[in-house]
Symmetry: D2
Subunit: 336 residues, 4 copies
């Protein structure tokens, strides 16, 4: 059960609400985000909902049968749009393409990519500066200095920045240079990181775990929301299965399922979902067709020379064609 | 290595070819299908390909690096189209919708479905009469008498019939009443059944195993082709994974991968791939967008009353809308 | 619900029982096996069990909450032992080792293996003559003639024969030459084969499917039992997962779970479960320690030269040591 | 390639070694742990190994073909034993039982558990104070104050403490109160946490990821070792598969495989590996039989009342019987 409070609610009234909830037998948790005040109530009790609904300072009471609550579509009228500023919105009818290299490598690389994105009308650039790598000896990214450079060039051109955050200690240093924090698949259940991302007012895109369930992804988002940050995106990036013909198995079923279960925008990452350059286009288009609100794609001027993930990275020409087709698919869906 | 023989080749010439192959150190297998004569050569040897190519009666010699050979796209120029007659073609640019109930239940059911398909311009009807069921106590289909009824009604209306065959002994009795034999997921590696289907001249659609690999599906097709029947369709129907939010995980990656690895048409089955009625439409459209040559969908006048698979079955209204959207997706792809 | 009938029950009494069951609202299925007469009742109804229990010719009525019934441990007092004759029993406290090559290759191979087994006190020999192979071009076994040779040599020495059956048409020709039919992992849900094996009075060992669930394995056994044959063994042989460091993932959890859910003997196959020769010993011993009633192991005089599965096959020396250790583990368990 | 340096090596000599390595074309990484100085060399080059081996200050040069190096058994003679002090050793022939509740709940609970462990001769107690939970609303542990209490009681009785660390910021505050840091399955690839654990001189037990590969587990250990801490334990705790009859699938194959690939001790966690109390005993014994160097088991005085994981927790009586049997299995193995 979620109790939405009025913005004007006074402290003693909050206390009354929380006390009333406890009395009924629920365990209340007060959640204050950048947009609202909620009391999430854990438990299952029979009671007259009006006893809560009529309390001073209560705007609305919602019954939510899912165990995750704030991210559930069961209480929120309509879908959530995430506004990155300068007219760049994501979700609730606003489709966005995000593209860029796996790793930020050099100023020249960033400049050329930004130029390419601008010429294609793409408004969000991805690029890793902290890279999670299976081996401790692999290239682990340019770090915070790389991010500052990456960010500065994007800011000049009105391009928004999404990049991965790997630990709580990185959150503050990154804050000024990014527009979306990305939580990678290996950190999808790093609960301490999720807790901390709840305390910051910037959008967070959470990738599904390597073999995370759809429900676990929703719970991970619930962590951030319950921590105080409701600007959330969810990303399907393929799961680990026995099939070795592709890097991961793109669970395209997750797109319509997530779209029904949550009000949050759903992004697809075809690059990781299949992991093979020549097949990125068809599965990217399939992901959009399945109903995604946005897409994040790895591109590089010279994929063969990329510092990481070159085998699944499109070059500029391939990506331009894909962007165009994606827009035609979105346009077809809008006509339906 | 595949050696294509001339249709006019005489028996002694065949023997010469086979002998030459053995001499080089390959293990030859002669394959005669409804369309051609081949010698499939197993092994890996260094030799001058002209020594074979110049033999009398040899049309062409193809080097195939895959271990499956006849179904590989590495030797065949162009894609294969399967002709079901009366202008119903599948593959190589001919997209087909196949639809119908999970189980054939009654004459009335078949008549109404045929009527609906005709009104929608759909030319192929699916419907099971032999049903593989986990439990021996579940409904196992109407059997051969059901098939005769099903077939007769379809024939009246120019609708083609696809239905599942479960064991070698059913092949001949079914022959006159069907247009495509379907091999179900649980029989995808029933090699005796595949062997026998190689001896019959009717198209065969092989479903990927419950957790079969893409490579195993190609090998299963190789069984039928090597048995003498090259009229083959492959079907992605979802695989078994840890994710329980859907019945199966639709491995949409398999569509472009199969399309590149084989010349055979690739079909998607969104009904089993997700297993939840309200999500069949988006994943069906995604499957088409990923490049499928055809689609097979479970529909029923009253899904709630279906003898089996009701939870993943569309009603007539839902299916009509889906058919229309599928055609718009195919039309969009043709413009690209 | 299972109704056990008296051996002496007359036909009209059987009809009365079936009618009574229908009247209550259950769907009855009469099952006659080599050992008993049962009416399996499908459904869930509230009624006074004495109305059935008191009917003439009814020995006992058992309520079974599982959907599989005859194989469930919920109705049968005690465990089932399978008697192969000549004092070779399996289950209910009788542990058996079964060993032999993947494929029967030659008379000499069989003779040497039989000699080795005899010297080690092993009473059951495995060996395939019909081999399911992913590729149609691989060695597919010596066939029925190979079986006759294999069987004759074993019979001379009092060794029992277990070998794989792949299709219904093989059941009768094999009957005189085997002691246990093995259903392979790829045929674990070949329901037509299971149906037919229900009509024969010889033990059947069913392997779990490539990625079959424990429940599906029980249902497959239910097919054979409901067909009339209750001499059944179940075999855990590893499942398909994402992990590629071993051929399969040995689901050792399945051993205690199966032992609790069914009264049938449970066999482990460590050779396929890990697929790597040097690790067969530890996982074999682990499987026995987990509670298996028997074990089936691939051995060969010269594993390097085996026609199939050499990489997971023990030589005679290795197998002798393993047999000895297995017996020590069984002895330890008997002391507990 | 790993170059072991002499303890007495001078800085200029280290520089010479690193320079020599670079010159050959390898990428060197200097690693200094509590026990040794190494230069790990990444790459693959042909060269005369004596050119390095003869440099001043080089003790030994090892060629390691695995991509993980320091944890590989390919360079280290013999197995690694982890000494927790007071005669509590783990690995290289020293078997240890670790047991305790999922969550530390109260002083009374800890006292009773310690008493029980002492009476059973168990020297290491587990117990979580920081609990990773899918839902943000679930009990998340008693935190650092709980750890202080837990630790104080254990120290009184000579019991060693193992508990989970969830983020870098917890490492220092926990240091004085624990004997082994546990990295949980969800943090198995939390590389920042692993990096930091490399900087501390306390043993670390890394659990395999929810669906981590054996190779990924070795790489995660390589992170800690390469960070400077070679006191490492690896733990198999079951993997996520499609099978839902148990909480996880116990990949018992991992035990012999890890034992061969690494010199580090291998622990099994049967409680999570099967997740069902009545089956913990057989799979625990199987894990020991497969070759584990230690075992970690969830126990509680009243499992029904445990704050978490009660369904997979043994009571004192059950655990006492299991401990006894484990020791009999270990004794049997020592006789072999």
């Amino acid at each position: 059960m979620i109790i939405q409070l009025e913005p004007s609610i006074a402290e003693p009234q909050k206390t009354s609400v929380v006390d009333a909830v406890k009395k009924i037998g629920y365990k209340p948790k007060h959640v204050a985000t950048q947009y609202g005040d909620y009391v999430v109530c854990i438990g299952k009790k029979d009671f007259d909902i009006r006893t809560i609904g009529s309390l001073a300072g209560v705007r609305d009471v919602h019954y939510v049968s899912d165990e995750y609550q704030l991210v559930s579509s069961k209480w929120k009228v309509g879908k959530t749009a995430i506004d990155l500023g300068d007219g760049v919105k994501l979700g609730d009818g606003h489709f966005q393409i995000m593209a860029g290299p796996c790793s930020i490598e050099s100023e020249e690389q960033v400049r050329k990519t930004v130029q390419h994105l601008q010429s294609c009308g793409v408004r969000v650039m991805r690029g890793g500066v902290f890279k999670p790598r299976s081996s401790p000896y692999a290239f682990r990214g340019m770090g915070i200095e790389g991010l500052k450079m990456f960010s500065a060039i994007c800011r000049e051109s009105g391009i928004k920045v999404i990049t991965e955050v790997m630990e709580p200690a990185q959150i503050q240093p990154m804050y000024d240079y990014i527009d979306v924090y990305q939580v990678g698949a290996r950190n999808s259940q790093n609960f301490n990181l999720l807790d901390e991302l709840g305390r910051v007012d910037k959008p967070v895109m959470i990738k599904r775990g390597i073999s995370g369930t759809i429900e676990e992804l929703l719970y991970s988002a619930e962590y951030v929301f319950a921590g105080g940050n409701e600007r959330l995106l969810l990303c399907e990036r393929g799961i680990r299965t026995y099939e070795k013909a592709s890097r991961n198995t793109f669970d395209i079923n997750a797109v319509p399922i997530l779209k029904e279960k949550t009000h949050l925008p759903v992004i697809v990452d075809p690059s990781h979902a299949i992991g093979i350059r020549e097949y990125v286009e068809p599965v990217a288009l399939a992901g959009v067709m399945a109903g995604a609100d946005g897409i994040i794609i790895e591109i590089h001027e010279k994929p063969e020379e990329a510092a990481s993930d070159g085998a699944q990275t499109l070059n500029f020409e391939e990506s331009e064609r894909l962007f165009r087709k994606i827009r035609e698919v979105v346009a077809l869906q809008e006509r339906w």
